[in-house]
Assembly symmetry: C2
Homo-oligomer: 125 residues x 2
């Protein structure tokens, strides 16, 4: 599978709260389909479909134990998703840095200009 396709199927799989909850549950260990379905007010076939989406995205793998098909988290594809998102970290942090700088600047001004203030620390209007 191409990298783009992998990213697409990973993000698409993550774009559903039920599926994210399932992954979260699986991060604490394997679970059967019935166990995974329990927290949701949703039919079994609906869960079955979500699991199929997760499986096609290689985010889970499945075993066979008697009539159970235990699900296991496969976190590997998340690494590439992480890598993709991390490309932008510098940008969102820069944004906060600028905000931070701005706040510091404002704070500096507040210190200099010693005007009367209210009890809660804000300027009087």
């Amino acid at each position: 599978m191409l990298a783009q396709e992998r990213l697409t199927s990973t993000f698409q799989a993550l774009a559903d709260p039920t599926r994210r909850a399932i992954l979260s549950r699986l991060s604490q260990g394997e679970a059967s389909v019935t166990e995974l379905a329990a927290p949701f007010s949703m039919s079994m076939p609906a869960i079955s479909k979500h699991l199929k989406v997760l499986e096609r995205a290689n985010l889970i793998s499945r075993g066979k134990e008697a009539q159970w098909r235990p699900c296991k988290l496969e976190a590997a594809p998340l690494q590439q998703a992480s890598d993709w998102v991390e490309q932008y970290r510098a940008i969102w942090e820069a944004r906060f840095d600028r905000l931070d700088a701005y706040l510091k600047e404002v704070q500096a001004k507040e210190k200099k200009i010693t005007k009367p203030r209210t009890a809660n620390g804000r300027k009087k209007s």
Copy 2:
């Protein structure tokens, strides 16, 4: 907006290669709709829709300059997406650690048991 909803709209927006490419382009600076559309063999309305998805996910903001609506990357929502994915880092790294440990173990055995080998380094059957 609730955290879950934000995650959903962010991941959903990222689950399309065209939109990811648009974000990638915008990481290098603002761009007009026409500029963003250029690399794709796709109609303008299609791009317009993609931009609307990105805008609703707060991944871009838009300005007004004459007849242009320049798009600007807003990376903030990516931080929460990153936070979510990072929860699983320990898990995917553990997986590699185990693989690494296994490979080291195998390598150790290979060294101890000095048996005849083929030219390509594998054991003779």
